[in-house]
Structure formats: structure tokens, C-alpha cells
């Protein structure tokens, strides 16, 4: 197995699939990339058993089809140091020796048998949908931050995708905050729903942000398959029933506050510096057309209070929130003004962008308060 390829081209492609490889693997072969040379094309695979990524590149020159796995870390570290030069790989698939020559250098390392590399799941009974890469990247960005980390509640660690003939909805929640991101410009022939895990979404987010392509998504009961440009990603879906999120979104919210997003964001950021640094709790006190933000850290006698003018319709109320949640949410909204709807101090607050320019986009963010004394 022999091929010559530009170092930067190879490195760029390896880096796009490197994120799949875990730092600690029970199966040593998962530390490797799988290289397969066939029909003058190289297919490189990385996997953690749950998620598998594959890129296909065409080398400048290729001889003797074959396959081998090569330790990812050494390979990537080496390629990083090269300028853009042609690198030639000469691999003996019997002795598993990999010989790399680049410029005046010669490097040898030993690979592993490709037969030992885990097989990627085959896709049967799939349904497919095509999504614009920017739209998908947007949907991931807007929802991923709200996913949970609780290993006891795996379903909440992913993003719930609900496909219907009218629209597609992406939902993420950790039971304290929730984001519902609906796109009406995206439709599916069939109605379906599945939960995508966090890791592949993170990988997709990084790659998609710079691309302008169509992403073909295929899915069945157990896996989802994303393909775009020369990249394929297969991930196992999170098994389980996603909670009925619509039931927890309060329908009657008589108290409506509208405020300039940036002003609120900077105030919360400042006031939360004075809040307890593990709970990040701040208080909202709304009365008339005035919002008073306050925070305190009793242990250090820190205290902050800020007054903001807002437009408010409803009863006077006092409600406590984790400022971290609010900051994340406000950072993921682009409009100049936002609207915070509330019903009672012990019920969820609903954050929505006001006058969203994108008519196809429907964002709803929900944040649970903290139980205040009194």
C-alpha cells in the first residue's frame, strides 16, 4: 500500500475527524485512524464505537490497494510540523510497518491490522432529509448549550429532533433550562423524531460553521447518518423517550417584560460577579416600568444592585434565576430586544426574541427559577 499526498490536505482532513477519538480508550485500536486505499481513493475512518467519521480524499499518487490502522496522535503531531510538502506513505500490510517520507526526513511507525478495527453499522430502513449546512449549524448552536450532563438521564444529554411535514423542531433541555428551535423552512415528508447525542453534534458544529453545502441526513431507529462534501458521520441515537417538553411550557403568562437585550446582558454579567460563585443566583424585581437586578454573596459580603428601565405589563413580582442560564440564553439570541414572559415566581420564565428578522425561525427559551424564601 503506497500513496503520496500533500501534507496540509491530509492534515486538514485528519483534523476534521480527529475529534471523534477519545483520549482514553478501552480498545487500543480506537487510538488509530483506519486507512483504506481502493480505486485510487483513500478513506480514513475514526471511531469511538458510538460515533464514526469518515473522510475520502484522493492522493496525488496511489499504488497497491490495501488497508491498515495508524496511531492518530503520532501521525497528526508529525503532520502539523510539516510545511506544505508532498508526503509519501509506504506501508507493508504484512509487517504493519508504516514508512513516511517527507522532504529530507524518514519516519517509521507501526500500525495495526485493519481487520481488528470495529465495523461501522450498516444503514438499513433509512429515511432521508436534506438540510442546508448553515441552517443545521445554526440549529445546533442554538440548542446544544441547553443539553444536560446527567448520566442518569441520558435522554436529556442530547438534542431532540422532531420532523414533520410542516416544520422541524430541535429541542434541548437539562431540566433547568430549555430551548425549542423551530424552522418552518425545513420540512420532512414523514413525521419522525430522534435524539442526537452531544458529541457528534459538537463535531458537526465545528465543521459545518465554515461550509455552505447541503447535508444529507439519513436515519433509522438506531442511527443517524450525515454526509456532506467528502465527510460522513454516523452516530448512534440516544435510546429512550424524550420527556413531554410541551407540557412544561406554561401557556398563560400574564406578566410580560420587554427589554433591550444587550443592556440586560451586560447588567446581568456585571451583577452576577457579586453573586455566589457556585450558585450564580440573581434576583429580578419588576415593578412599574423598572427592573431591579440584584445579587449577593453572604460569605464575602458582596452585593450588587442595578436598575434598568423596561416595558412591563403585569403584576409586580420578584423572581430568582441562575444568572449563568440567562447569560447563555441571551448570548444565543441576536435580536435587539427580547421578551421575558412570566406567570409566577415559582414558574418558568419564557425568553423569546422580539421582532426576529428571520421569519422562518421560531425560538423559545425557558428558564426555571430558584425557590426564593418568603
Amino acid at each position: 500500500m503506497k500513496f503520496i499526498i500533500s501534507s496540509t490536505l491530509l492534515l486538514r482532513n485528519l483534523q476534521s475527524i480527529l475529534g471523534v477519538i477519545n483520549t482514553n480508550n478501552t480498545l487500543p485500536i480506537l487510538d488509530d485512524f483506519l486507512f483504506e486505499l481502493k480505486d485510487d481513493l483513500i478513506t480514513i475512518t475514526s471511531s469511538d464505537l458510538e460515533t464514526t467519521m469518515r473522510v475520502t480524499i484522493s492522493p496525488d499518487k496511489a499504488e497497491e490497494p490495501g488497508s491498515i490502522t495508524i496511531p492518530a496522535k503520532i501521525l497528526v503531531e508529525t503532520l502539523k510540523t510539516f510545511p506544505d510538502i508532498p508526503v509519501s506513505f509506504s506501508i507493508n500490510t504484512d509487517t504493519l510497518m508504516v514508512e513516511i517520507s517527507a522532504g529530507e526526513g524518514k519516519y517509521k511507525l507501526s500500525g495495526h491490522k485493519s481487520a481488528e478495527y470495529p465495523h461501522t453499522p450498516s444503514l438499513e430502513d433509512t429515511t432521508s432529509i436534506s438540510v442546508d449546512s448553515q441552517l443545521l449549524s445554526q440549529a445546533i448552536n442554538k440548542t446544544l448549550f441547553a443539553t444536560g450532563n446527567d448520566e442518569l438521564r441520558m435522554v436529556l444529554s442530547g438534542v431532540f429532533c422532531e420532523l414533520s411535514p410542516d416544520d422541524v423542531t430541535f429541542v434541548a433541555t437539562d431540566a433547568h433550562k430549555l430551548v425549542k428551535y423551530k424552522r418552518t423552512d425545513l420540512k420532512s415528508v414523514d413525521s419522525a423524531s430522534f435524539i442526537l447525542p452531544k458529541k457528534p453534534l459538537n463535531l458537526l458544529k465545528n465543521i459545518l460553521s465554515t461550509l455552505e453545502v447541503q447535508v444529507a441526513i439519513e436515519y433509522n431507529k438506531t442511527n443517524a447518518f450525515f454526509s456532506f462534501s467528502n465527510i460522513h458521520l454516523i452516530c448512534r441515537l440516544i435510546d429512550g423517550k424524550y420527556p413531554n417538553y410541551d407540557a412544561v411550557i406554561p401557556k398563560e403568562n400574564p406578566n410580560r417584560l420587554t427589554i433591550e437585550r444587550h443592556a440586560l446582558l451586560t447588567s446581568i454579567r456585571r451583577v452576577s460577579i457579586f453573586a455566589n460563585q457556585s450558585t450564580h443566583q440573581i434576583r429580578f424585581k419588576v415593578s412599574g416600568q423598572e427592573l431591579i437586578l440584584s445579587a449577593e454573596d453572604i460569605d464575602f459580603s458582596n452585593e450588587a444592585k442595578e436598575r434598568l428601565s423596561c416595558s412591563y405589563n403585569g403584576e409586580d413580582m420578584e423572581i430568582g434565576f441562575n444568572s449563568k442560564f440567562l447569560l447563555e440564553m441571551l448570548n444565543n439570541i441576536e435580536t435587539e430586544e427580547i421578551c421575558l414572559e412570566m406567570s409566577a415566581p415559582n414558574r418558568a420564565g419564557i425568553l423569546t426574541p422580539l421582532n426576529n428578522e428571520n421569519k422562518d425561525e421560531d425560538i423559545l427559551m425557558l428558564v426555571m427559577p430558584v425557590m426564593l424564601n418568603k
Partner: protein, 388 residues
């Protein structure tokens, strides 16, 4: 060269008894014992009249009653005492520049440098007068150069007195006193030193420090320093509690698991209310059991920050089940919440509903107004209590 310091040690006289007497004047002048009424309880506090009979705190109740059959037994109400203790702390916090709450009835104050503006003895005397006037409780203080000497001075000033030991008077003050007066010397150390022929602090202060170190290790050095009136420990400003806990010794060792779980529920209710009341959250739950042979075991578990009974009760029950492995009688069970942080419980959109949160708030309001025991879960109430 260390700047000479001025440290005040303020100590309430027979604190629990004094509070009881304030509410029940008929107890004045009589031997009063505060503590668990059962034979297995210990004396928490006793009046000077009771001390004449040889009763002292931490003595088993049974022994105390044998010594003085006429003594009036009072069950004791820690909630009430904490309230008075808090009032005292508030008065001190208002006046003193730096203070440390060492226990429910003791405070250390660092008043170094204040003699430039006030007469120190006069200032401290006025502080003491103000506490007596505002609470009606007797209090004594010692004023000296460090914590140890001040504390010993308070002991000498009691009851209801004050004592000033100036920088030059430390050695002569300590010298004739029994080594027992040094706060660090308990029963064991006292016996050891007595067996060496040491009776007074004077003798102790003249023993070469190396020798004490050989006998008692590092503690020997500290004891020697204290005997010489040396103590560099600073005043630690008052800190919030690092944990909340409660425990219960059974009147009779028991294997009644059902009952024990009920008691655990009651304990969780009690201390989780304490958390919510102080606006604290816990992330570490510990359960403790002591078997009849005094073998003590604890088991702890980390949980997401919370202060809700319904989240803590299952954790505590589960820990208890895992902990109770030996089929042996149990003497004591206890629950502790630690790793506390300030904050209010974060609501969960799937597990917490508004009705439940409103219920918590309503119950807590009732508890704040009428006392913590006024509302409880059904399982936490004993049949005998209902009969009352």
C-alpha cells in the same frame, strides 16, 4: 517582635440554665440540670447549686440523679438557646471590631489598639453590661493578652464577674492555678501530668519543653506554651456553619428498622428546613449509625445541590440501607448535610411542580412562625405524640 494583643473572652454563665430561669423564675436558686431525661442522656448544663453536689456537664444523667435526687430536670430547647445566643452575638457584632463565635455561649474578641480611644476595661465592662441589660442573662469575661489566658481568666471571674490580666501579670496569675484550668488539658492529660507530680501551672511551665514533647508529642509543646502564657492563635472571624446535622440516641438499643426510617425522615425534615431557612444548599449527605458495642459507621453520598426533603429523604434511606449491614442492635443514628453553599434550590421543570414548591414555601412560613416542629410528615410523628 509581636505586637502585644488584647483579647477578650466572653462566656455566658450556665447559659442553658440562665435562659430557662429567665422564662421560669421559680428555678432561681434551685439545683437545675439540663439534658435528656432518660437514663442514657447526659448533662448538657447545670446550675451552680447543682454543681455543689458534684454534678458537672457531660456526666451521665443517671449518675447526676443519684448525686442529687432533688435537682429539677429540664429537657432543654436548643432552638430557644440558639435564639438567645444569636442575640448576644448581634450585640457583640455591633460593637466589637473583630470577634469569633467559639461556641453557643462563648465569644472571643480582638480589641487590640482600642485602648488608644477607650479604656479597655471600661469598654469591655460596658459591653458586658449592655449584654446583661438586653438579654437578662449573666455573662463573665476575661481580658488578657491571648485566647488561652483570657479563657482561664474568665473561668476565674465566674460567676457573673470580670477579670483583667495585664501583660505583666500573666505569669503571677497563672502560676498558682491547677493545670486543670488550661483549656487543652482534659481528664487523660491531667492524670498523666499528675502522675508526673505536676500540680500547678507554675510547675508545668518550668518543665523543659523537650521533656513534654517526648511524653506527649507535639501537643506537649502547645501545653508548655500555654502554661507559659503563650498562645498565638488569631481570632477567626465568625463563620457560617459548614454543615448541618442531627443525631438521636435511642432509649433502648433497637433493631426496629421501620421506626428508624421514620426517625430518619424526621431528621431530614428538620435539617433540610434549617438549610432552606439559612438559604443554603447541600451536596453531600452523610448517614451515621452506632451499634450497641459503640462501633460507629458512616457512609456519604454526593448529590446535586439541593435543600428539598423529597430529594434528600430517598438518599438518606438508601444510605441507611447500605450502611446497616450487621444484624446488631443500633444505639444511635444521625444525618449530616455538608459541602454547603449559599443559594436557593433550583427548580426542575420535570420533577418539581408549582403546587409542591408552593407547599414547601407555605410549610416553611408556618415553621418560621410557630416553630419547626409544628408541621411534619405523618410518618415522622409517633403515635404517642398524637395521643398528646
Amino acid at each position: 517582635m509581636l505586637v502585644s494583643r488584647n483579647i477578650v473572652h466572653l462566656d455566658m454563665d450556665t447559659f442553658f440554665v440562665s435562659v430557662e430561669r429567665l422564662l421560669r423564675p421559680e428555678l432561681v436558686g434551685k439545683p437545675v440540670i439540663i439534658g435528656g431525661a432518660s437514663d442514657r442522656g447526659v448533662v448538657a448544663s447545670c446550675s451552680y447549686e447543682a454543681r455543689k453536689f458534684g454534678i458537672h456537664s457531660a456526666m451521665p444523667m443517671k449518675m447526676a440523679r443519684t448525686l442529687c435526687g432533688d435537682a429539677i430536670l429540664v429537657r432543654g430547647d436548643m432552638e430557644l438557646y440558639s435564639k438567645y445566643s444569636h442575640t448576644v452575638t448581634e450585640i457583640i457584632a455591633e460593637k466589637a471590631p473583630l470577634y469569633e463565635k467559639a461556641s453557643i455561649d462563648e465569644h472571643y474578641l480582638d480589641v487590640t489598639g482600642m485602648d488608644r480611644f477607650f479604656g479597655l476595661q471600661k469598654w469591655t465592662h460596658e459591653l458586658r453590661e449592655s449584654i446583661i441589660k438586653n438579654t437578662g442573662l449573666p455573662i463573665s469575661f476575661g481580658l488578657s493578652v491571648n485566647k488561652t489566658v483570657s479563657k482561664i481568666a474568665t473561668g476565674e471571674a465566674k460567676p457573673n464577674g470580670e477579670l483583667y490580666v495585664g501583660p505583666g501579670a500573666v505569669q503571677p496569675f497563672l502560676a498558682p492555678l491547677s493545670i486543670r484550668k488550661i483549656p487543652m488539658i482534659g481528664e487523660k492529660t491531667y492524670r498523666l501530668l499528675r502522675s508526673m507530680g505536676v500540680v500547678t501551672i507554675d510547675t508545668l511551665s518550668h518543665i523543659p519543653v523537650d521533656m513534654l514533647e517526648r511524653v506527649m508529642g507535639r501537643n506537649g509543646i502547645v501545653i508548655w506554651e500555654k502554661a507559659n502564657g503563650i498562645d498565638r492563635t488569631p481570632i477567626y472571624p465568625y463563620h457560617e456553619a459548614k454543615s448541618v446535622s442531627t443525631e438521636n440516641t435511642f432509649e433502648q438499643d433497637s433493631i426496629d428498622i421501620v421506626r428508624m426510617k421514620e426517625i430518619l425522615v424526621k431528621m431530614v425534615e428538620k435539617i433540610s428546613f434549617e438549610l432552606r431557612d439559612k438559604q443554603k444548599l447541600t451536596s453531600c449527605v452523610t448517614v451515621k449509625i452506632r451499634y450497641s458495642n459503640f462501633d460507629t459507621h458512616t457512609l456519604q453520598q454526593h448529590v446535586p445541590y439541593t435543600a428539598f426533603d423529597h430529594q434528600l429523604i430517598p438518599v438518606v434511606k438508601n444510605l441507611f440501607d447500605r450502611l446497616y449491614q450487621r444484624r446488631m442492635l443500633i444505639r444511635l443514628i444521625g444525618v449530616r448535610f455538608s459541602s454547603l453553599i449559599s443559594g436557593n434550590p433550583q427548580l426542575n421543570m420535570f420533577d418539581d411542580n408549582v403546587e409542591m414548591v408552593n407547599l414547601y414555601q407555605a410549610l416553611d412560613r408556618i415553621r418560621r412562625k410557630y416553630g419547626q416542629k409544628i408541621v411534619r410528615r405523618g410518618v415522622a410523628i409517633r403515635n404517642s405524640e398524637i395521643a398528646k
